[in-house]
């Protein structure tokens, strides 16, 4: 039948194009997993021969880079806890209370947040942090990230909480629970998937960010991995591909681990048309 053969051809064409596109996007990923184990890795794709851990051994000897991974963890963890907790409480209040003009507040904050964490505000941020005497501390980085990420986090969470019926907490309160009890016993467990999304999103943001820690920190002992990655560039500014590849893989592991953990523990849920 001419009709069905046309469909076959169309489907085959679609599959071929999809496969080609997929391969195109997969190639850098394949490089990402092969290069670290190749002692002679270059920017071209090559299967490691011989397969070696030599690159990693060298990277582990770079104490600055190793300390930086720990610093990244401290900053990301601090920022995530602050953003997660503050956004949950703020979003809950914004969703449940009847403050006039509350949605205006959210939108204005959202608008300015892209300014705060953007490079445009770097000078005032530096001045504020410096006036507070926090230059060259983990706290400075954590606070600035929290300030920048909080509005969006609040916005995502408010959307999520708005979709949860108030009658959950209401029935808890009728049953004798105080508002705080109702929040922790009933509301919080229901909101948790939303908080998880926000936490992962904030973690990835802080983990990958370069500019803010680079400007706010001075000491090598406080720099995060996103900055330390430049210690694998030669004096001339060319990357040492072998070490860079190995370090990048280590650098990405916490994010991958977080995704896997969250996926296993909670399962991912995205909602409200917001791409996270």
């Amino acid at each position: 039948m001419p009709f069905s053969s046309r469909i076959y051809i169309r489907r085959m064409g679609f599959s071929v194009v999809a496969a080609l596109l997929g391969t195109l996007f997969a190639l850098p990923l394949v490089w990402f997993f092969f290069a670290p184990f190749n002692a002679r890795a270059e920017l071209g794709l090559a299967i490691p021969a011989p397969f070696t851990f030599a690159n990693f051994t060298t990277v582990f000897q770079n104490t600055f880079a190793m300390q930086a991974l720990f610093n990244s963890l401290v900053q990301a963890f601090g920022g995530v806890v602050l953003v997660g907790a503050a956004a949950t409480f703020a979003a809950y209040a914004l969703s449940r209370s009847s403050i006039p003009g509350k949605s205006a507040v959210t939108y204005v904050l959202l608008l300015f947040s892209s300014v705060v964490s953007g490079s445009a505000a770097m000078v005032p941020i530096f001045l504020i942090v410096s006036a507070a005497g926090l230059i060259d501390t983990h706290l400075a980085v954590i606070l600035v990230f929290a300030g920048g990420l909080l509005p969006t986090a609040m916005f995502i969470l408010r959307d999520f909480i708005d979709a949860i019926p108030r009658s959950y907490e209401e029935s808890a309160m009728v049953a004798g629970a105080s508002p705080l009890q109702a929040f922790f016993d009933v509301a919080l467990p229901v909101i948790r998937p939303g908080i998880v999304v926000v936490v992962v999103w904030a973690f990835v943001n802080i983990w990958g960010s370069f500019l803010i820690p680079f400007i706010l920190l001075r000491s090598d002992s406080l720099m995060p991995a996103s900055v330390a990655i430049y210690s694998f560039y030669s004096e001339a500014g060319t990357p040492i591909v072998t070490l860079l590849a190995a370090y990048s893989l280590i650098y990405s592991l916490p994010v991958i681990a977080l995704y896997l953990f969250v996926n296993w523990k909670f399962g991912f849920r995205f909602f409200g048309g917001i791409k996270s």
């Binding site: 019926p165 009658s167 959950y168 209401e170 029935s171 808890a172 309160m173 009728v174 049953a175 004798g176 629970a177 105080s178 009890q181 016993d185 009933v186 467990p189 229901v190």
Partner: protein, 366 residues
């Protein structure tokens, strides 16, 4: 148990006045049903008793104490929500036992008590399931169990049986009726279903557009509906209403309308006064209509519209020419000769008359 009182309570949502001005008092141990069409303010009234909504003005009293601004948790009430409001992350046992947990009851004790109530409501086998893993009717019963698991001053029910199938609904209704008799609970019960209200209530408050139209025992509401609205809302099927022209001839009331021939109703002073306005609405319940004999005097005539056999009785609906329909409930045993044209008749004592504003005219000798 405690009494409940509303003193000139009003409630507005922004510019919308949902309840203009409501006053009533419910005695200790009464089971009051709020009956009315969708959006008339039943849930809003209930939420103000619970403390989930604050009146715009007026006072709410529970057990004689002013609780208008008291937090829900301090009111010692329980409530079944219209949307059940079961906690999705807790299994049924924890859901039902939650009020006891808040009261500091030990886990095994509260689970035992939850199981007891759940067994009565036939959900005892489901205690380990999450709310998302049970049916709508089971969810409703879980919500009911959670409200009954602890002693309360006042029980509030927002259409707690609306999602049950006919058999379960009858059972649950019987259970609530028994509970009411057993422990003399004070309850406010919201329902759309007039049969449920009739069966359960010691008094019914019929509401319309944020007002209480009539607040009386079921039998009173049935026999002496205060307005055409109440008459039209209560009864299964509701009362037939026929607008008619009235005149008093030879000391007897005559009503005339398409297909209606009423010549011999007794006249009281109030009726005489109402007849001055000429237009009167005749009300007669379907169960008081019968197939007319040739010499009957109060007759409604129309074309047969439907004849529904319901087992012991039939619903015969006729359509008056270019006018409304009239339904009669007739025992199937009575020999029904249903032709194309049907004549129905009724006795004078079963007639309810409403004046031109829709208010009931007190009957002769009342």
């Amino acid at each position: 148990m405690a009494s409940v009182e509303f003193q000139n309570v009003s409630k507005s949502f922004g510019a919308f006045n949902a309840l203009p001005d409501i006053s009533f008092s419910i005695a200790d141990g009464e089971f009051v049903c709020l009956l009315g069409p969708s959006g008339c303010g039943k849930t809003t009234s209930l939420r103000m008793i619970a403390g989930l909504e604050t009146p715009t003005s007026g006072k709410v009293l529970i057990g004689g104490r002013d609780v208008t601004y008291l937090h829900p948790k301090d009111r010692q009430i329980s409530m079944v929500f219209q949307d059940y409001a079961l906690y999705p992350h807790m299994n049924l046992a924890d859901n039902i036992a939650y009020p006891l947990k808040v009261r500091g009851e030990a886990e095994d004790k509260r689970h035992a008590r939850a199981r007891e109530v759940a067994d009565v409501l036939k959900i005892g086998d489901l205690m380990k399931r999450l709310p998302s893993q049970i049916s709508g009717g089971q969810q409703q019963r879980t919500s009911l169990a959670r409200a009954l698991v602890y002693p309360s001053q006042v029980y509030l029910f927002d259409e707690p049986l609306s999602n049950l199938d006919a058999k379960l609904r009858l059972e649950a209704r019987g259970f609530l009726n028994h509970l009411q008799r057993d422990m003399g609970m004070t309850a406010v019960y919201v329902t759309h279903d007039q049969a449920e209200a009739m069966a359960l209530a010691t008094r019914i408050a019929v509401m319309d557009k944020g007002r209480i139209v009539q607040f009386a025992p079921p039998i009173e509401i049935y026999r002496r509906p205060a307005t055409t609205f109440v008459a039209n809302f209560v009864g299964n099927p509701p009362m037939n209403l026929v607008p008619a022209q009235a005149a008093i001839i030879d000391g007897k009331l005559q009503l005339r309308a398409e297909g209606l021939d009423v010549t011999a109703l007794p006249v009281s002073d109030t009726i005489a006064r109402a007849v001055g306005a000429k237009s009167i609405t005749l009300g007669v319940r379907p169960e008081h209509l019968r197939i007319a004999r040739p010499d009957d005097s109060n007759v409604i005539t129309g074309e047969l519209f439907a004849n529904e056999n319901m087992g012991p009785e039939s619903l015969v609906t006729i359509e008056r020419k270019d006018a409304g329909r009239v339904t009669a409930r007739i025992f199937t045993d009575d020999e029904i000769r249903v032709d194309k044209t049907v004549r129905l008749s009724f006795d004078a004592e079963h007639v309810t008359l409403f004046d031109s504003t829709g208010a009931r005219i007190p009957a002769h000798g009342e």
